[in-house]
Symmetry: none
Subunit: 251 residues, 2 copies
């Protein structure tokens, strides 16, 4: 029996199916080791093996995250990995709600001793399980489609913290108007997080550069020079002025 067995089983059973590469990052070992320690597990039937990944034999707990999580999945995973390169063990970060945030939370499981504040119950529960992390859930009543909170107490919690980074997202990036979202409450939370954080990380996949069916109209707070913009494709030229002061990273 290997010392990684329990963590490995935990992670796979929780997510249903997870790639060997990702497991190696989460456990901090090589992919070859993942294969080695997982072999006895699949022999004994505790796990199932497919090409490139391990899948749980238990009825895969169909974790909520709806259709949006699977929209542009590869893009969001890539962005999440790029975001994790910015963060180091021991850093503190505020994370807003949004589908990309969910992937970032998953990817952040490979770091240690993180201090996290978030208004998303999904992000909170994902990162709270990691031993050594210090996670605070901001807010009480949860919005039903994504499990995020925007009530008064959320702001109280956010305003109490001072963090190194804040992870933000947007529904649409407009060359003229910047980063747009649909709801005022999302802007409010973003502003509060931004006010209490060092550098901001704006994560938007390439689909956010194209026109949306339902056009968002509310502007996210403007970013500071030096804040990060992480995306999965080189943005079209028309955005160059908007991103002029930002550190742009393409996954």
């Amino acid at each position: 029996m290997s010392k990684y067995e329990t963590t490995l089983l935990q992670t796979v059973d929780m997510r249903g199916t997870v790639s060997v590469q990702e497991l190696s990052r989460i456990l901090g070992v090589s992919d070859q080791t993942i294969r080695r320690v997982s072999r006895p597990l699949v022999d004994r039937g505790a796990l199932q093996k497919v090409h490139g990944a391990l899948v749980s034999t238990k009825s895969a707990p169909d974790l909520p995250y709806l259709a949006r999580m699977n929209l542009n999945r590869e893009a969001k995973v890539a962005i999440a990995e790029e975001v994790v390169k910015i963060i180091k063990d021991g850093d503190s970060i505020a994370i807003d709600t949004g589908s990309t945030s969910g992937f970032v939370a998953q990817a952040l499981r490979s770091l240690r001793e993180l201090t996290v504040v978030t208004n998303s119950a999904y992000v909170a529960s994902t990162l709270a399980m990691i031993p050594g992390n210090n996670v605070s859930m901001a807010g009480t009543q949860l919005r039903d489609h994504d499990g995020a909170s925007f009530d008064r107490s959320a702001f109280d919690v956010i305003d109490r913290m001072q963090v190194d980074y804040v992870l933000l997202s947007a529904s649409l990036v407009d060359a003229r108007n910047g980063f747009l979202v649909h709801e005022q409450c999302e802007v409010d939370i973003a502003s509060a997080m931004l006010a209490n954080a060092g550098r901001a990380i704006m994560a938007v996949d390439h689909s956010k550069f194209e026109p949306q069916v339902r056009k968002p109209v509310l502007r996210q707070p403007t970013l500071k020079p030096g804040d990060y913009l992480v995306t999965d494709r080189v943005p079209p030229d028309e955005f160059s002025t908007l991103f002029a002061n930002l550190e742009v990273r393409v996954a």
Copy 2:
């Protein structure tokens, strides 16, 4: 018997698996001593040894949340389904933390228009995603092994609500002393939920009727006549007086 035994057992049982190096740092002795001291413990079956680390034997009560979720999985799934039969669409329920609660949350996804209050981020995020549900997360700072909160604000939230049911759990059922758990804060939350709820549902799988390695000593608040006890096997006779006034359901 060595003076380190109890600390060693506690630490390993708490964390599920901990490396020899880390133990030597924690106890302030050499790694060789850890090996020496742990040998009789693994001989007597109180601990398990792997290369580089000690892991708690499987009946250990405080394994990380997701590891515990895979312990007696079938039993807990069955119990969860039985619990769901009690609840109807539109009901309100308070849910405490614990591995069984996680399964109940999964099973409750088949109901609609639920009002839920819980101090577990996992339960909260699981149920908040269902359209029509109204979920409140009680508490802010999350305990790292199971993502549950026990801070002041958790009680404020719970005390504001009046719900139809409360789902409780226990680490051990003792014929003389009733339902026992390890931590005072868990009792406090249970009491608060109980005070604001109609009928209680105590969910315990059969393993909770047998002696535990680390014996819990704190009594859960006593249940009212008519409260439910849901389990997966007919409890031994010695518990008949304890369960006399309860509605017992066996999955």
